[in-house]
Symmetry: C2
């Protein structure tokens, strides 16, 4: 590491939270907008989100889903139909009450036209179960209309008091799948299939290890009978819920009276699931791999996988080096790599190195006059901060293979960190001590919401999930807090 | 054409407007939602929009643009900053006044919490110039930061009194490009480049001929110095504005105080463009090609390009035919075609034929027991309603070539219709007579907003554009209405 841009970065070890905020802005990923709690996703940040979007969309389609689009607005009365749902979502939301502005009486600016009040207020969707199930009512008559496997890519709004870029914003982008099934079994299977898709996406593309599990009743989605989630561990030991998939039972079908005639011609309520991931994944990605020099991107999601920086003194050197780079770029692009030549004439190489490190580009290739002569390049890896000299001959294939190596290395590094920070804890004293240092605490719990609540009050730790893979938790023991008998360990952690 | 589903379709000749509404719903493209003026875009309709989105996105990126995302909400005061803009957009819009609901005093349902009134109302974006230029202010310091070439895919809301699916809805999906430039010339060039991209997209992918031109001052975007548009002719002879590109001058830069230091270090205001197309394109696509049997899709935008329908009596026949179809499907997919085998067991072939005609699938392939023996298929084209027998051997390549043929045929057919309905008109009597029958009337106009307004009042015809390609309009003449001298013809038409 040399000089420049990243100098002003906060150290991750000094103030993790500040380091994160700093990084998001400095790496040009996103910024606060003029609207409280709403972010602007900048082109570089959006390009990463686009890669996530494309890959997830492929996985949804491969599992039989289709995209559709439902209204931004939800009539206020819809929210009250499902009792728990209104509890969970109607509280903090954006309410549209009028449909017109008019010139203000003093002639300066505009004011809300009091004559344009809506008969029924509209809520900007915080999630779309209600409007979608009201629509599904007209789509479903018989078992032949099932299953319905829809997904929607959309913006949603939840009026958050304290916001952080990507992690918690009033408006965010997400996808929400909403499926309708003839049987309970099919719906449960779908909810499980989709949390597995999320886990695969997190592991394979984000290089982020996750635990798959059930949420406790307290932490469930408002209106669900069961919520599955993937839980990741950030570098400060805090947990981040990165995706959820809900088995909704017949709750929404009953609230919106959606019945179907089964093969025997009898009417029954339809079974539902919903599942979603959001731009919050951007926060998870950043906090899984990045360091004090900036962002570290897994190759599978990097908008630029290779940056090439020429080093030269004379115009003749410049032209010869850039011409060679163009050739190498072409051969790399033929291998499916995305490559950028940073040919800016007003910046020194050291500044460029620092900038691309800050932006997390996986591989940097430098060619100077001597390299041109010897037929080599200097290649630097973002993940290990190592450099080596390599022949230009065959570089494209070498770098293509290196992408897989980096992807695997990032995953393994994050996995090791995660595993080093999962602890079996059996006493309350140890719990209180350990939780201060972060990590996932595998503990016995008596299964009651009261105990969960008390532990949260005393330590700010919540049950992240009741794991169904990733760890052997089925065993007899006693609740960490009450000492009552328990049949399995659950994961406690402080969380984003 | 056989039987079934399309029987209930309204005839295009009897009632074009009803035919359109009918078709959109019956072909499963979209439907009205529970929210006034907002539509649900159904999976089949959304799949077509996705194809448009993908292709346009490729074209935007190929011309150097990047995607980003800006807030859904715009502070009310922002709208007043640009004087003409507020005139054009602040009138009918969705106004967010509160950020919380609470349980109603009677315990039933929820009501707006009067304590949660926003300090400043937020407008759901009708277009994003204001919030984006407020953001660009922080991105632009010097000429080195220019140009900024951003695009956003988003939903917008304009509170329309009378709505029609795709053509005019309160909420719609669109893309909006917003660019910032150092010079007037560059900005004008960009606005022209993007209207040319739209024209190429319309012609090449939608198979829809368009005229490119300037809007008259009256019809310009609120806040623009010049608006370019592409204008298409629907089958009823009415015009449809399918995309616009605006040269905004320095209006928004001045409204939001966005200045840059030029190469000489002097401050100057930044030059702007914006450009957009929306789900309205879906309406244009439908009304360009479809007929009384339903939708007709150009292969370039068809989610399913080939549908295969087996005809059989016995289970053995069924299995043998479907197995053969699977092979053919694979060979077609290898050629990049998207193929569906309609193997539903509860519907007769005639019903399936009608359904896929209704949905506009370009090619239908039928295999019955005799075809299986003879090694042939029956192939039907949606665009010409013709059938032929073809060998299974080499079918994939034949069909691939046929796609280009169909695409070209649809364009030529639409072009012929358009050209047959463009008329040079030189007297006011002829104008009033012709306009009743539809079509584009090429007329001289004295260039004043007054005359434009009077013609509109008397005939409902508006100036669609002042063409810059597609027709020779530069010639001396006299205004159709006032007889004053004119140097060029413009296009008048009734419009959607």
């Amino acid at each position: 590491m040399s000089e420049a841009v990243n100098k002003e970065m906060t150290n991750r070890e000094d103030d993790y939270s500040k380091w994160y905020n700093n990084l998001v802005v400095k790496a040009d990923l996103a910024e606060q907008s003029a609207v409280r709690g709403c972010m602007v996703i900048k082109p570089y940040g959006y390009a990463i989100w686009e890669k996530m979007h494309e890959q997830l969309d492929r996985m949804f389609k491969a599992t039989g889903h289709q995209n559709a689009y439902f209204p931004l607005f939800i009539p206020k009365s819809f929210l009250s139909r499902e009792a728990e749902h209104v509890e969970g979502f109607a509280k903090e939301c954006a309410v549209v009450t009028h449909h017109r502005l008019k010139v203000s009486p003093d002639g300066k600016g505009v004011v809300v036209d009091p004559d344009a009040r809506l008969e029924e207020e509209l809520i900007v969707r915080p999630t779309s179960e209600t409007i979608i199930w009201n629509t599904y009512k007209n789509w479903i008559k018989s078992w032949r209309d099932l299953p319905i496997l829809c997904n929607q890519w959309a913006n949603v709004v939840r009026w958050e008091m304290r916001t952080r870029l990507f992690l918690r914003t009033a408006e965010f982008l997400w996808q929400e799948g909403h499926t309708a099934h003839a049987t309970r079994e099919e719906a449960v299977e779908e909810a499980q299939r989709m949390v597995a898709v999320y886990a695969e996406f997190a592991r394979k593309y984000m290089a982020m290890p996750v635990v798959v599990g059930h949420k406790s009743e307290t932490e469930r989605f408002a209106g669900a009978l069961d919520t599955y989630s993937i839980e990741a561990m950030m570098q400060d030991g805090k947990a981040l819920q990165a995706g959820t998939s809900h088995f909704l039972g017949q709750n929404f079908a009953k609230a919106f009276d959606v019945q179907y005639a089964n093969r025997e011609g009898k009417l029954d309520y339809v079974w539902a699931t919903s599942w979603g991931v959001s731009t919050r994944l951007m926060g998870a990605l950043i906090m899984s791999h990045s360091d004090n020099n900036g962002l570290v991107l897994p190759p599978a999601l990097a908008p630029i996988q290779v940056v090439m920086v020429p080093i030269f003194k004379t115009d003749a050197e410049h032209d010869a080096i850039v011409a060679r780079m163009e050739q190498i770029k072409k051969s790399m692009e033929a291998e499916g790599l995305s490559v950028k030549i940073d040919d800016r004439d007003n910046l020194r190489p050291g500044f460029k190195f620092a900038e691309w490190e800050l932006k997390g580009v996986p591989v940097r290739v430098v060619i100077g006059p001597r390299d041109l002569e010897s037929g080599n390049v200097e290649l630097a890896r973002r993940d290990t901060s190592t450099k080596e000299s390599l022949p230009q001959e065959g570089l494209a294939l070498r770098v293509k293979a290196l992408m897989d190596e980096i992807q695997a290395n990032l995953y393994n590094k994050a996995l090791k960190f995660r595993d080093d920070n999962v602890f079996k804890v059996d006493t309350w004293e140890e719990f209180k001590e350990k939780i201060e240092k972060g990590g996932f605490l595998l503990c016995h719990w008596d299964g009651t919401a009261e105990t969960e609540e008390k532990i949260k009050e005393e330590t700010k730790a919540t049950i992240r999930c009741i794991p169904i893979d990733s760890c052997v938790c089925e065993e007899e023991g006693r609740c960490i807090y009450t000492g009552k008998p328990s049949h399995r360990r659950v994961i406690f952690a402080r969380a984003y």
